[in-house]
Assembly symmetry: C2
Homo-oligomer: 202 residues x 2
């Protein structure tokens, strides 16, 4: 009896423990932090969750987060519809938009292929990508999944599926980060950097 | 415009980022996880927060989490009122109760002294501890704050304050964890273990 938490505390710990990257100890720590907070501060989080779930949806076309049927990028006529950048999550779009280098549209897979966890193309928004190709007149797909095993597997799969359809399929470059140091680069990254070398325009 | 999140998403990321141990990247990851969840699952967390804030309070006597004015331990007449175990947080009570070794009562400081962060005894429930000594006939205080710098500082402070009042003030033992390995113990722990050596009853 006294050796466990009261039901509402345990329920809170359980729910927090379901979040990604939150282990049982962190869930406990966060729960007690919330209990000690002034009620209005803790309820602000509860409110933010409900608000986000109420107001935010996924874009009908590209699965970016959106407040209406289409996200701001899909609603923007100035974006080039012939080139689609495929990303794992909406947050990747924010990162790419910050570069100011890309004027095409996006497609969010809402995840990445992971055979070990049983996540294949059918669990991702791959079919929805295929359905966009014809009506939007897509010519190039840039696969911007993360440069790790899952991201590479997904990129390979998409390339094999899309190339026979006559599309240009490209992959973002892997290499040394700008401002990085050769000495501290891992072999894999350095190998990729060499492999992806480009002629210097001089 | 397109390079930032819509307001409800940003609000959610901001609120999550205020939780202890959640950095900006984790906050983003958790926010998108919540957005992808079925609404009822995400709202269960929001509900758990509100429920906990509504139903859970701190015990009027010991500041353990409670659903009524007193926590289950303070309401239990079979607990020895003459010995109080002082802990930092309610979760420490759960850990100690699991041992089944302690039949006294508790006092939760709701934190620990941390001079660098400006947390002194007046930010903790120290005054409330003092007020319990006389009416409850307390004879011994076991200081069960964590065996780290802050916990030791707090233990030292409490000992210096309580001993002149004629109370027995003890500290939980530091030493090698049961099942641990001497070879892998750090010097500080090993030093404490030697310092705290006990006669073998043979």
């Amino acid at each position: 009896m006294a050796s466990t938490y009261t039901a509402p505390v345990q329920a809170l710990i359980d729910e927090l423990g379901r979040l990604p990257g939150i282990g049982p100890k962190s869930a406990q720590r966060i729960a007690f932090h919330l209990l000690k907070l002034p009620t209005e501060d803790a309820n602000r989080l509860a409110h933010a969750i409900r608000e986000a779930k109420d107001k935010v949806r996924f874009c009908d076309r590209c699965f970016n987060v959106a407040e209406g049927p289409l996200c701001p990028i899909c609603s923007d006529d100035r974006r080039d519809p012939t080139i689609i950048c495929v990303v794992e999550e909406s947050r990747d779009i924010v990162a790419i938009e910050k570069t100011g280098e890309f004027r095409g549209r996006y497609h969010v897979l809402l995840g990445v292929m992971n055979p070990l966890e049983g996540i294949g193309p059918e669990q991702l928004k791959v079919r929805e990508l295929l359905l966009r190709l014809e009506p939007e007149g897509v010519e190039e797909i840039i696969v911007c999944t993360n440069p790790n095993t899952e991201g590479e597997v997904t990129a390979m799969y998409l390339a094999r599926m899309l190339k026979p359809l006559g599309l240009k399929v490209t992959r973002i470059a892997s290499g040394l980060p700008v401002g990085g140091d050769l000495e501290y680069a891992d072999e894999l990254t350095l190998g990729r950097a060499l492999e992806g070398r480009r002629t210097i325009d001089a």
